[in-house]
Point group: C2
């Protein structure tokens, strides 16, 4: 990485952290300039518009998510170990200090669901990619005979995402310290029920 690229990445790290707290739609070039104590004109040289900044933050967060959660999980054996790794990786992601406001995607889902435009389009593409990773991992477990032949990968994926979203809600809003243990039990039961 050259110096310019490193600076750009550092700015994106800050922007992602800020977005996790103020929301993606609250992430303006002005707000980021204040947070970084930089000039707005300097930031405009990096990001030509608020939408471009928001899309870059989504892509930046997605790259980090792929590197820290998806790739290590896909290196695990098929079936339950891979699904458990996806689940544990997601929990570690949400608890990471670099996202003080929780998962930037979980917040963006409801922020953007009725705001048509390029930022929402990018979010949909990224989130569909994440669901496809979960459903695809279930599908390969079925093909390998590790999960029941009549199991529905899309049903299992939607149910697993439910456990993640409910955990996020119970722990971050309701401050329920038992939510993590319950989510683990839910996913263990899901995998046990899918076993062939």
């Amino acid at each position: 990485m050259g110096k310019g690229e490193r600076t750009h990445t550092t700015i994106l790290d800050h922007a992602t952290s800020l977005a996790s707290q103020v929301g993606l739609t609250g992430l303006t070039i002005g707000a980021l300039a204040d947070d970084l104590d930089l000039s707005k004109s300097g930031l405009f040289a990096h990001f030509q518009s608020k939408e471009a900044l928001q899309i870059e933050v989504l892509d930046h967060a997605a790259r980090r998510f792929t590197e820290t959660v998806v790739r290590p999980a896909l290196a695990k054996p098929r079936g339950a170990p891979r699904m458990q790794a996806l689940f544990n990786g997601w929990i570690a992601w949400v608890q990471d200090d670099s996202l003080p406001g929780g998962c930037v995607f979980v917040a963006a889902n409801t922020e953007l669901d009725d705001r048509p435009g390029p930022v929402r389009d990018r979010l949909v593409a990224l989130q569909q990619g994440w669901i496809d990773v979960i459903a695809g991992s279930f599908r390969r477990g079925i093909e390998s005979g590790l999960f029941r032949a009549d199991a529905d990968p899309r049903q299992l994926a939607q149910d697993m995402v439910g456990s993640l979203l409910s955990l996020h809600f119970h722990s971050r809003l309701l401050n329920d310290h038992r939510a993590g243990a319950r989510a683990r039990r839910a996913v263990a039961a899901l995998l046990e029920g899918a076993k062939s």
Copy 2:
């Protein structure tokens, strides 16, 4: 209701609808004045601050939720019929035309989870009340011998909320038309697994 009270309720209906689209934190007295084509000073006579408006909207939405979802469900027989009624009522609530942007609570959960203050406190109290309704309904089903004696009402409630949140995400963001059928299957399996 007197005329003043009716006007206040009409304003709150508009404000709740607006909050479902722009988010609760986007609901300012100025934004509401624009939406209703009223003067800001007139609205300040109804709501003394942005926070007071946001709290009134939460309370207004919660009252409507109690009347249209909770109360009819609690009139159903204990056990699976009551849980199904809570689930179906929630789905009808999310699809109601008066909430064009989906459930105002689902969006507020991630908007407010790291914004300490009176609005978050009220949201937490209301959401805890909703979780208590679900868990309490499971508990009474257990006491009546309709659900297994060793079932955990808090586990069942967290799992059921997961099905609701995952449905909201799949249908509203990903526009997945099969999500409703999957959520129904998930809740049916949850209730079947809890049966005594």
